[in-house]
Symmetry: C2
Subunit: 464 residues, 2 copies
């Protein structure tokens, strides 16, 4: 693609909009902005701008549109697929300074926030008002706009759904700089195609989110976690469809292997309540009464024991629950720290196919003599499977990773799954999206991209 | 638009696909197919075809695409905005014969259905398996694909959300005849733009739904309804934000005036438990334990009494609940039967603005000397406001309706609302969507339409 290179006049314009202190060029740009959390895909933008208002975002987009300059929106850079890397150079539009919580509306149960507010700030803020923002991805330092752009799911999707379900309205800036509101503080909407739902999960390729109206729920009064050891992972995972079928809906159902727990313990320097077994299910139940929760977990505990669980450990203290969930939250970091490089497969399959898929990744481990670590959301079918480079040469790594990914994504398709459950396509997973959607499907995505962004300047080279 | 007129060759082709018994021309087409439930917008298609398989739909679309013939998909025709009327003639594609429930998957909590399955059949089927499909629009004889295409909401949106939230996957036929699957039996999905969410609410203008995978929940074990009389409607409606703010989530919160109740009684020939007051809130609570429900409704009953409610009538027998909800379900029909013609405004506003809006419609009633009846979903801000023609001449009616609608939609915009909460835009509400979205917004919708349907043959003239 033939984009205009940034020159001194462009820099001058950006400084005229944002002031000198928020425009960074060349060596002023921290190397961190060349890649995301996972790394692997690297390029520094030509200029990085910190916007603090919708008006600034609008002016910058209009200028970029008129001058055919690529713009990469960026939050905290916690992504894993290169979605926030400026692979065509140009302008990186850093939105982390737009980080104000604007309004809590208790009569409509909505929270209005700027795009750079962090997930952990949202939960802290609303919980202090006895309210609840259910989406709960492991990475709490992500921005809300990053979560919206990947339609992040997290642990509680089993009961509460994903980010999409909690976005009521958005203020967006289109690639040509126009500001638009889609949705609002409303519960229902059938007024034309759902632009709101088109933006959610679009990975910053269709418009820039400058404000979000989030749906809140009353905070459940009680929650309890069960840690359930199993002799092996297959047995643990095969229990999950039985739980779903039992018509009891846990808040979260995670699976983990002892290796991941040990790595997390080492990484965090803290102890997990139990690690004597090979595999675990970790469940949470929430609700408003002790009896309600007890009835649910009692039923599920029996299903697990009948299916071969070795024990059922109940964590009803805040402290104990935190230690378990903190370990769960650290799996990614811990696995990353255990190897030289890694890449992730974030497939989602129907819930009763998780066991098949994990069994298959174990076969691949032997077949390709590569370490594959996985953990994930057994309750919603979304797996995070990590292929580890270890001591491979660059060439060997590329080859092995390509072969293993090819096998995994192809099996996911056979099982009725999709390429990404919550981390998105970004740059890294495009080949697998193409295989999954076919050429005609990809053409449709491209047509939609052009409907929003006729000059292809907004986060080009991502998704499609 | 310059579409090809249907000729004998086209009829021959359609017969070759569907057989003679399912292709109807001229007087063979029942006059009902010229309009929808509300009427007002009328035109018969040139040919009406009953498809029974995805393959047939695909062949018909490919032919229509190649020959530039407009196609109007049609379910039960229960819409209110002309969305299923063949305003450009051409082919009406009747999908009501594709009416099989294909699969209940209890391990993934999904139900796979053909597009023509009726809402009432779905609830009956899943409830027999102790499962629950929450969306609950008043019109139970609508098809599921009709509900998907308008993103129907219904009574239970307060607690459970709308149709969009219960569509996991779709099989669609694109305007060029290509068959595509979007989403699936999966809980999360971040694999490219959400085509599934683009189709939901698109009113048959982007693709034809030929199969749907619906999300189910366990059936709540108990439900209870409260009928709460108030001295006037304003007082009733102003209580609703207080209920929302109390962090108790009812399943449904409807408001109604005694006039609507009397009309429904007459229409149904059955008695409502109470009609001595001017206005009512009707609430439902559901859950799995009596205590849980009692705690919730006790709290809400007190809020209502503190806000001026005259009484709280509890309906805990199946029979009594049915009589109330049956009356609620008959409001539309009853109002319709009370006048010569009517049109509907289906706005949605933030929940704490409902009282403002209803007060305003009362002012319009005096200002324009016209009967305006309303009922609706106070708990989710979606109002159904009916302007009645009564004895006006055609010319007077057009003028009054236009003026009153102009006022109402403009006020809804001021209140942060949208044109349609659940009935869609269709043909009738396009002018108001244009006012709401602006020219640039409409251009974006048109671009999206062309991304799916470059020849503009699928349900042309609707939405945008």
């Amino acid at each position: 693609m033939n984009y205009k290179a940034i020159d001194s006049q462009d820099i001058e314009y950006l400084i005229s909009v944002c002031g000198k202190g928020r425009v960074f060029v060349g060596e002023e740009i921290n190397e961190d902005f060349a890649h995301d959390e996972l790394g692997g895909i690297e390029r520094l933008p030509e200029v990085m701008v910190e916007a603090v208002s919708t008006e600034e975002v609008s002016k910058i987009m209009k200028y970029a549109f008129d001058h055919h300059i690529p713009v990469t929106p960026r939050g905290q850079g916690t992504g894993l697929v290169g979605g926030s890397v400026a692979i065509h150079g140009g302008i990186m539009l850093n939105l982390t300074k737009m980080n104000k919580i604007l309004e809590l509306d208790e009569e409509n149960l909505t929270l209005t926030v700027e795009p750079g507010v962090l997930l952990m700030e949202i939960s802290k803020f609303v919980e202090a008002h006895d309210l609840f923002y259910p989406p709960d991805p492991g990475e709490k330092s992500a921005t809300i706009a990053g979560n919206i752009n990947t339609n992040a799911g997290g642990m509680r999707a089993v009961k509460y759904g994903v980010t999409r379900d909690y976005v009521r309205g958005l203020e967006i800036v289109l690639p040509n700089g126009e500001v638009m509101e889609v949705g609002g503080k409303i519960v229902k909407n059938s007024s034309g195609y759902s632009l709101k739902d088109m933006i959610v999960g679009s990975e910053g390729t269709l418009a820039i989110v400058t404000k979000a109206v989030l749906k809140l729920l009353p905070l459940p009064k009680k929650a309890i976690s069960l840690l359930i050891p199993f002799p092996d992972l297959a047995m643990a995972i095969e229990t999950v469809p039985k739980i779903i079928k039992s018509k009891t809906i846990p808040t979260a159902v995670e699976f983990m292997e002892s290796a991941a727990i040990l790595a997390a313990e080492e990484f965090l320097g803290m102890k997990f309540p139990d690690k004597s077994s090979d595999a675990y299910l970790l469940l949470t139940f929430d609700g408003n009464s002790k009896e309600e929760i007890e009835r649910a977990y009692d039923k599920v505990a029996h299903i697990c024991l009948d299916s071969g669980a070795l024990d059922v450990l109940i964590s009803n203290t805040q402290e104990r629950q935190e230690s378990i969930w903190k370990a769960r939250g650290a799996f990614l970091e811990a696995i990353k720290a255990s190897t030289t490089e890694m890449d992730e497969c974030d497939v989602v399959v129907p819930r009763n196919k998780v066991a098949d898929f994990i069994k298959y990744t174990n076969e691949l481990q032997s077949q390709f003599q590569v370490r594959i670590k996985s953990f994930g959301h057994a309750g919603d079918g979304n797996l995070h499977v990590y292929v580890l480079r270890d001591e491979r040469t660059e060439e060997e790594w590329k080859k092995t990773l390509g072969d293993v990914f090819e096998c995994m994504y192809s099996r996911a398709r056979e099982l009725g799954g999709q390429v990404s459950g919550e981390h998105g396509i970004g740059y890294a997973k495009r080949p697998f999206l193409i295989e999954s959607m076919g050429e005609n499907g990809m053409q449709l995505l491209k047509n939609i991209k052009l409907a929003f962004d006729p000059k292809n300047i907004l986060n080009p080279g991502k998704v499609c």
